[in-house]
Subunit: 218 residues, 3 copies
Amino acid sequence: MSSEPAPLLALDLAGTFAFGLNGALTAVRAARLDVVGVVVLGMITALGGGFIRDVLIDSLPPATLLDWRYYTLAAVGGLLAFALSRHLRRIETPIIVLDAVGLSAFAVIGASTALDSGLGFAPAVLLGVITAVGGGTIRDVLVRRIPTVLSTGLYAIPALVGAAVTVATVETGVYGLPAALGAATLCFLIRVLGLRYGLNAPEPPETRGRGGPDEAGG
Amino acid sequence: MSSEPAPLLALDLAGTFAFGLNGALTAVRAARLDVVGVVVLGMITALGGGFIRDVLIDSLPPATLLDWRYYTLAAVGGLLAFALSRHLRRIETPIIVLDAVGLSAFAVIGASTALDSGLGFAPAVLLGVITAVGGGTIRDVLVRRIPTVLSTGLYAIPALVGAAVTVATVETGVYGLPAALGAATLCFLIRVLGLRYGLNAPEPPETRGRGGPDEAGG
Amino acid sequence: MSSEPAPLLALDLAGTFAFGLNGALTAVRAARLDVVGVVVLGMITALGGGFIRDVLIDSLPPATLLDWRYYTLAAVGGLLAFALSRHLRRIETPIIVLDAVGLSAFAVIGASTALDSGLGFAPAVLLGVITAVGGGTIRDVLVRRIPTVLSTGLYAIPALVGAAVTVATVETGVYGLPAALGAATLCFLIRVLGLRYGLNAPEPPETRGRGGPDEAGG
């Protein structure tokens, strides 16, 4: 990632910090873990998506292990969430907003990194989505929730839009900070507005009215 | 995978499509997800085993990301399952058969790909099993079920037989389409007949009569 | 791993065997699986952490697939646990002790392997922790438990101490068998004494008295 322009690096670091905070707040709320568990879940959420991306494009060791700012920000985000949890009466909103920030940043950076590594357009979009949803999916599995990417369509779709816009702007030669921020903002808005207005992707016809994803498994 | 003979490629693509359909039908039945969740789970089931195989043999980016037919078939399988779910009154049988098809195809292709990459016999058999059960295991974890590979011995064993026969035929120089189809058919029959006649591997003595794997965890 | 001195190889193999036994005993106790499930869970627990380590440092195929002693010991550990389960009236204690042995061995070997591969100090410590807790975390996810690394701080912390001491002794040029055994013993003692005396890391203030991690998810 060292070859990235500074503003895109900033977007990537912001996503890492947001996911670190988000994962740790999720740990406080959903699983009531101790300080180590909180920080570990924050770091896994923040670094997991990038790990998967770098493994799949064979850029190893992962960029986030080679650059101290990534793992430090992830850990600091986790510690901060632990310290703040006392003062957050309702942490639902910051959890959602931070998750949307990480999702947006990683969809854009993941897609552009995949293109840089030589992947074609469709696989690069796919990798953007994987980078964006990967950390949160591991987080959900570890605290035994159905992953958000499965339970609501309005999670993969904004990531897909952000990654696709990124790939399109790279392809047309207009990728840069404004395009990246635009793609990330678009992803963020779709995610947050989708939640705000309760938009959903179509459900399978035969299952309507039979209950939500929470009944699965357990 | 581009160096594979066409018939083996066809077997691999058939396995990918079968797992895409299977994962998506599982999503419809077990977790009642929306269309995006259904397609995502289908793609993860179809591509997951090959991702793990290609990561472990250091053949990256994964073959299934470089060849558009794989990810397209996985997605089409998922969409088709979503569309069909309305008309499938009982999807238990197709889920089982499609899973057995994917298991058989991936055990054979996984083992031969691992041998091609220079691994020895035993690791190649192990990789065949990992390729065969990997996608389904991720699928089960994501919808919070005890993975099939753990809860029933008659899942890993057919994969092991299919992979071992494949390795044996490569070693004796008779590997080719007939041998591959034979190994896959053997795996398929053991899996399906095992289910049909309720065969099981031995359980630990102390736990007999104390209940099934479904009581674990949650 | 072939370049490792024999005593360190012995430590690594001991950790592999301990985790194989541990994972299999966990399967017997927590999920009541059949013999194949027991062996598979033992092998995943024993080999999982090393797989993740070797993937992240790009040392592929994983050392444990190239050296037959690793996967054989993992499988033998699993089979032995299955055979022994009849005679173990209380398997709680061996599960805990074996887990602590694997944790200690893998924290030390993981950190030194990461340093050998060229990673810096902090990432090497992180990789030691990932190697140590990786296999057990996959084990816990597969049998649907909140992973130990999240639910108790006294699991990641001993691994962190063992890995950090290892990195410090490598850096000061005194790494060798005594230093490795010392670091592993320190990790082991912190883990076992922490369990024995019920030590815990601080919990988030707002969640005190609201219940344990077992309420999460499901």
